[in-house]
Amino acid sequence: MTATAQDLLPATRNALSLLLLAMADDEFVIGFSDSEWTGIAPLLEEDVAMSSLAQDELGHAQALYRLLAELVDDGRNADAIAFDRPPEGYYHARLLDHPRGDWADTIARRFLYDTADSVRLEALAEGSWPPLADLVGKIRREERYHLLHVGAWFERLAAADGEPRRRLLDALGRLAPDAATVLAPLPDELGLVLAGIADATSDELEARWEARIRPTFERLDLPMPPPARDPGRSRTDHSDAFRWLHGEFTAVRRLDREATW
């Protein structure tokens, strides 16, 4: 079954637009967070790697915002959706609301996010709405490199004695209680499953994610992420750290709406 945007029930269309917004905002915010390392990463190789990762993520965000702009068709283009909202208009996961922190925070955040995101992408890869399924197929080829890279760092910090492991444990203590927010339920998500756009609801995705990461956490003797803390809290209730980042990434747009690179 192949669904066009016009075939979708209004509630399903709305759910799809929120899914696209959540995914795009996730990629946009982690991309900007990682670009904060450009010039100051602990190794030259990581300066290059984090900048390239950030560029990939912003590219994914742009493509997802474009799909959203076509679906919603309210006169806003991808840039307007990306830059013209107040902080409380963003729909990304709370995991990405923490300050950049140190290198261990960055690796822990990226490991938790990339593993959860890969489960989400898999669930959409064979979906019935071709624009999203096609884009997800392409994005997954790039995310494979992100997982390889962050997986190697995660193991390296966890396996090291002393300060690297201690810092990773501290970072997981701060971040892991928010990790499952990447897969938090979206309004009317069952409609996406019934329309064949996604192959599972968020509960099932979270179970798949836990099963995926458990062998790594057990092998490295790390505590598994707990269930999401504060599950009732709104997706749009953001931290001061995000409000600061928002000020940074909207600075050029506020100075000159027509600026191009």
Partner: protein, 155 residues
């Protein structure tokens, strides 16, 4: 006189358009052109596949395609598409040879052969960084001739 317009002529014209980041190869060498349609003697339609989702060169490539095909005197439509995922297996044998000659290791082909140094041909190479100066490249070091080189990522 305006040249005859058919798919072959359009593809030949596209083969003159260099990749902005690695100008030694054309958009045809890289396998970025999925479909070319010449519609009943009217519009020319080209389906262009980005190598990476966020490839910053794609707007420049689209503009170059539009400019080059304007010479045919027909309306030109360029569709940037993910309908078919671009993969590094789409790089043509000619494209792979051109990459090698200009100091880039081509991506491992469908045979998954070992990466070889494009300068001395040795397989005594070490991956230095999966990520490089653009999204589509990784960094390697050749232990035989002590030359760093870039590899077009397998994707």
């Amino acid at each position: 006189m305006i040249a005859a317009v058919d798919e072959t002529a359009v593809r030949a014209a596209l083969a003159e358009i260099p990749d902005p980041e690695i100008p030694v190869v054309s958009v045809v060498d890289l396998g970025m052109i999925e479909a070319v349609e010449v519609d009943g003697g009217r519009a020319i339609r080209v389906e262009l596949l980005p190598t990476f989702v966020g490839c910053p060169a794609i707007d420049a490539i689209r503009a170059a395609v539009e400019t080059r095909l304007a010479a045919f005197g027909r309306p030109v439509e360029v569709d940037v598409s993910f309908r078919v995922p671009w993969t590094s297996d789409r790089i043509t044998p000619a494209g792979r040879a051109k990459l090698r000659r200009s100091g880039f290791a081509p991506p491992p082909g469908s045979d998954r052969a070992a990466v070889r140094c494009p300068y001395c041909g040795s397989d005594r190479v070490a991956l230095d960084n999966l990520f490089g100066p653009t999204q589509c490249r990784s960094l390697f070091y050749c232990r035989a001739c002590r030359q760093p080189f870039e590899q077009f990522k397998a994707i």
